[in-house]
């Protein structure tokens, strides 16, 4: 009896295995495709659907279909949203530019074999990995205008104390500093990987022709490194456009709305004002924006190559 069961079971397993062998390219990705559709694609469609409705969570009447009116309000009427676009672009442009420049410099510096290079690289990865919420709290303390260590250290070199996060003009640059601290290591990592795969031959022939260090960098390293640079820019732009944790923990969009980027604006619409349809429309807009910017960057990369 048990023997027969065993045989049957083995036969069944055999059948499954044969079935997989017949359609491997279809069945291997199937579980992931099903799960991804369930956890990502369907919610996104639902989000899109919700963005066509007027709905306050506090309203017992439920959602009401209003077509594209949420989008019309976002783009035409809502002054706060328009300002949040500029803030997002300002934050992204400033952070990405500094991170790329700094990251390139550090990558060039570290691009050699030296004693302890492994340790240095690992140390550089720490800001990237450390829990952003916890590190943002640390920065809040360091930025404290009266007791913060930052004002103290800058005071040593003669910089007068600043209000940092509570100054409407300084708040975004202050947040940029945190983003630079956290994500420059990512640029360094990507560029180091790019640098380590550069060919040696062009350098040798250029050096024989008498090229100086600066010429080598400008005419050989930079052009050859362009693919890695574009990858780093692409991912940094995508991520800074979407930054949430750091800003939410440090300022919650304040003071006033001075650091309210699109992502925080969507969060406020949805989870503070409970204006769900509107929040959906804002989040769809943000997603489209990130998508468009990445498409442009990818196109630029193709043109460059």
């Amino acid at each position: 009896m048990t023997g027969r069961q065993g045989v049957e079971e083995r036969w069944r397993l055999q059948a499954v295995s044969t079935f997989i062998d017949a359609h491997p390219a279809l069945l291997f990705p199937a579980p992931a495709v099903i799960v991804l559709s369930a956890v990502m694609i369907l919610p996104l469609l639902y989000n899109l659907f919700m963005s066509l409705h007027e709905w306050y969570l506090t309203n017992p009447g439920g959602p009401q279909f209003i077509g594209l009116r949420n989008y019309a309000e976002i783009f035409v009427k809502d002054e706060n949203f328009r300002q949040s676009i500029w803030r997002t672009l300002y934050f992204t442009a400033l952070a990405t530019t500094i991170e790329m420049a700094l990251g390139l410099g550090i990558a060039l510096l570290l691009n050699r074999q030296f004693k302890g290079h492994q340790v240095v690289r690992t140390l550089f990865m720490l800001p990237l990995m450390a829990t952003p919420t916890a590190m943002a709290l640390m920065w809040v303390l360091m930025y404290n205008p009266t007791l913060g260590v930052l004002n103290y250290l800058l005071g040593l070199v003669g910089v007068p104390p600043q209000e940092w996060l509570s100054n409407v003009h300084l708040v975004i640059p202050s947040l940029v500093v945190v983003d630079v601290w956290q994500n420059t290591p990512f640029v360094v990592l990507v560029l180091l990987a790019g640098l380590s795969s550069l060919p040696v031959a062009p350098y040798e022939s250029a050096r024989i022709d008498g090229a100086g260090t600066w010429q080598l960098f400008w005419n050989i390293t930079l052009p050859l490194l362009r693919p890695a640079i574009m990858v780093a820019v692409l991912f940094r732009v995508i991520d800074t456009l979407k930054t949430f944790d750091t800003i939410y923990v440090m300022t919650q969009g304040g003071p006033g709305r001075a650091s309210e980027t699109i992502n925080l604006f969507a969060f406020r619409s949805g989870f503070v004002n409970l204006h769900m349809g509107y929040a959906s429309a804002v989040s769809v807009t943000l997603a489209m924006m990130v998508f468009m910017v990445s498409a442009i960057l990818i196109r630029m990369r193709r043109l460059a190559e």
């Binding site: 295995s17 997989i20 062998d21 491997p24 390219a25 291997f28 990705p29 579980p31 992931a32 495709v33 799960v35 991804l36 956890v39 990502m40 919610p43 996104l44 989000n47 919700m50 550090i106 510096l109 030296f114 492994q118 690992t122 990865m125 990995m129 450390a130 829990t131 919420t133 916890a134 709290l137 640390m138 303390l141 360091m142 007791l147 913060g148 103290y152 601290w181 990512f186 990592l189 990507v190 990987a193 990858v231 780093a232 991912f235 995508i238 949430f244 939410y248 923990v249 969507a266 969060f267 769900m276 929040a279 959906s280 989040s283 769809v284 943000l286 997603a287 990130v290 998508f291 990445s294």
Partner: protein, 288 residues
């Protein structure tokens, strides 16, 4: 005589070159130190602040030398059920990572083996769409069926972080597995599943470790999903420190100790598995 004169400048030149090299080596290390210290200072200050007494916290100028105390850490455990929340974080990140790998690995293998680039591009959607676009619909659905503040809600949403990430990294690791080996196994009568489990997965295991650790970290670090979808029962650590901060604004010692406790496992993990991480991070080019 002439020979001596000829040798001496030569030796001198060698010696001066040695000095120069030592000097430039020194300058290099100084430069590295200068570059890395601002990045490390935040960690240094975090640990330092976490062992200061309340009085030392508010000293001006800020103290660099003082009598350390572990009282802040004791406070964290006293004021909030810290261990229970740490357990929540662990359950969610391990659950989401395990499921993400279970579903994601065969998919990554398939994309690598059968060049399913369209599928790979579809995976990238998760990189582009902001978390909030997933959070709003999931929040509405979970509140509709009364599943806010459950592990399932958190694990399901954290799958959005872990699975696409693991797939994206693993594609290139599976591409590195020599096809000849797999074909040999097939000829020997191994099934496709067998090839995947006994040939491809073991060869790609450094990648599997890298993607598992990174998924674990990014899920552990995630803030926005837990902020909305967790409650008293399932609150994870990033939300715990944030709440700790809002309730105990002036208790810097407690806040920094909590921050250390949340970030420490991640930092240690980074050190332990750094050799697997560099390739994973550079390849994936992806962060949670």
């Amino acid at each position: 005589m002439t020979r001596m004169a000829a040798v001496a400048p030569h030796q001198q030149r060698i010696r001066s070159r040695m000095y120069q090299r030592a000097l430039s080596q020194g300058a290099f290390y100084v430069a590295v130190l200068l570059v890395i210290s601002p990045f490390m200072f935040v960690f240094f200050w975090m640990v330092l602040s976490s062992v200061k007494t309340g009085v030392d916290q508010t000293a001006w100028p800020p103290l660099f030398v003082f009598a350390p105390t572990l009282d802040n850490y004791a406070q964290v455990f006293r004021r909030v059920p810290f261990l229970a929340y740490a357990m929540n974080s662990l359950v969610v990140s391990v659950g989401a990572t395990g499921l993400g790998l279970l579903f994601g690995l065969p998919c990554a293998y398939s994309i690598a083996r059968w060049k399913q680039s369209k599928l790979a591009v579809a995976i990238l959607v998760s990189r582009i769409v902001p978390w909030i676009s997933f959070l709003i619909p999931w929040y509405l659905m979970f509140s509709l069926i009364g599943m806010i503040d459950t592990y399932l809600a958190l694990i399901v949403t954290h799958l959005i972080i872990t699975m696409p990430f693991a797939i994206w990294i693993m594609i290139s690791f599976f591409e590195d597995v020599p096809v000849e080996l797999e074909e040999a196994a097939l000829i020997d009568g191994c099934s496709r599943l067998g090839v995947f489990l006994r040939v491809a997965a073991p060869i790609a295991s450094p990648g599997i470790i890298a993607s598992a650790i990174l998924s674990l970290i990014f899920s552990w670090n995630n803030f926005i999903f837990s902020l909305i979808l967790s409650g008293d029962k399932t609150m994870t650590l990033p939300v715990t420190v944030f709440r700790f901060m809002t309730y105990e604004e002036l208790n810097w010692g407690g806040v920094t100790a909590a921050a250390v406790l949340v970030a420490l496992p991640v930092l240690l993990l980074t050190f332990v598995i750094q050799r697997y991480l560099v390739k994973g991070l550079a390849l994936g080019g992806v962060k949670g």
